[in-house]
């Protein structure tokens, strides 16, 4: 249920996620401190709460959508090895001894 397929792309890479998390933590704490000081000056706690909520809006805008800066370090997947020749060679080695030419071409090391 948690894995919903959104109609828009939502992924970020790992470095991007770390950057996004650090960014919203800093923004919210910053607005919280500013709000605390302003609230203390004006003796109104509502100012503090409004400041934090404004900080939440700013961070939500900056960190929730997957902006391109969070996609600068894509994960380097390894290149796929062609697995078809491997499985064919193994089967022929274990069961039949027909077509030895094929196995030699595919895996010259294993034959010897």
């Amino acid at each position: 249920m948690i894995d919903i397929e959104w109609p828009f792309a939502t992924h970020m890479d790992f470095r991007g996620q770390k950057m996004a998390e650090r960014l919203f933590q800093v923004i919210i704490v910053f607005f919280g401190l500013i709000g605390f000081i302003v609230g203390y000056m004006m003796q109104q706690f509502s100012m503090t709460i409004y400041s934090v909520l404004f900080g939440v809006l700013v961070s939500a805008f900056l960190t929730i959508p997957p902006w391109p800066i969070y996609r600068n370090n894509p994960v380097e997947w390894q290149k796929p090895v062609d697995a078809k020749k491997d499985s064919n060679g193994n089967k022929n080695n274990s069961s039949n001894k027909s077509t030895p030419k094929d196995t030699r071409k595919a895996k010259p090391k294993k034959d010897q």
Partner: protein, 184 residues
């Protein structure tokens, strides 16, 4: 943090934690505040009646009737941690049967943002001044004001105001058909 919902969840939880820390900060910043204040109270035309209290037993008890004048400015009490004030006026006196009687005559809730400066003249008491017996004649009664501070985050404080006043009830009863009709 990978999926969209997980980012939203982390952001929301972190916001709640920050708000909790700020609320703790508000509590600590007003922990040592005393919330004292001065008021001036006086009573007009105190009289004593002797009637049946129909809401209690059927015996006849003393009923004190008076009017209140009050002046107070409570705006300095509202700092950023005070949500509302609950004021109440108490009449205290001594009788032979009880060493201390306290009767609440009036109360008021002042919320933050409302006018906190009260200048009241000739106001009837909000609650009846029944005595438990018949000892109000010639009794020296002290009127004191106290308030409860209701905070945004913190303890419920009870503070007695400075400035109380006393008056003495007359020594004779007033009947509703007598010359001193006692009607205010």
């Amino acid at each position: 943090m990978h999926s969209f919902l997980s980012r939203l969840n982390t952001l929301f939880a972190f916001t709640i934690s920050v708000l909790a820390a700020l609320t703790l900060g508000v509590f600590i910043s007003t922990y040592f505040e005393q919330y004292h204040g001065t008021v001036s109270i006086s009573a007009n035309k105190p009289i004593v009646k002797h009637m049946t209290d129909f809401s209690a037993n059927r015996k006849k008890n003393d009923l004190g009737v008076l009017q209140l004048n009050m002046d107070m400015d409570l705006n300095p009490l509202f700092d950023w941690n005070v949500k509302q004030l609950f004021l109440y006026l108490t009449a205290e006196y001594v009788t032979p049967s009880n060493s201390l009687n306290q009767v609440v005559l009036w109360d008021k809730i002042i919320e933050r943002g409302e006018n906190a400066q009260l200048n009241i003249r000739d106001m009837a008491t909000k609650y009846y001044f029944w005595d438990d017996g018949d000892h109000l004649r010639s009794n020296n009664v002290t009127l004191t004001l106290a308030w409860n501070i209701i905070s945004n985050a913190g303890r419920l404080l009870h503070v007695r105001a400075d400035g109380s006043s006393s008056f003495i009830f007359p020594g004779e009863y007033v009947t509703s058909r007598g010359k001193n009709s006692g009607r205010e």
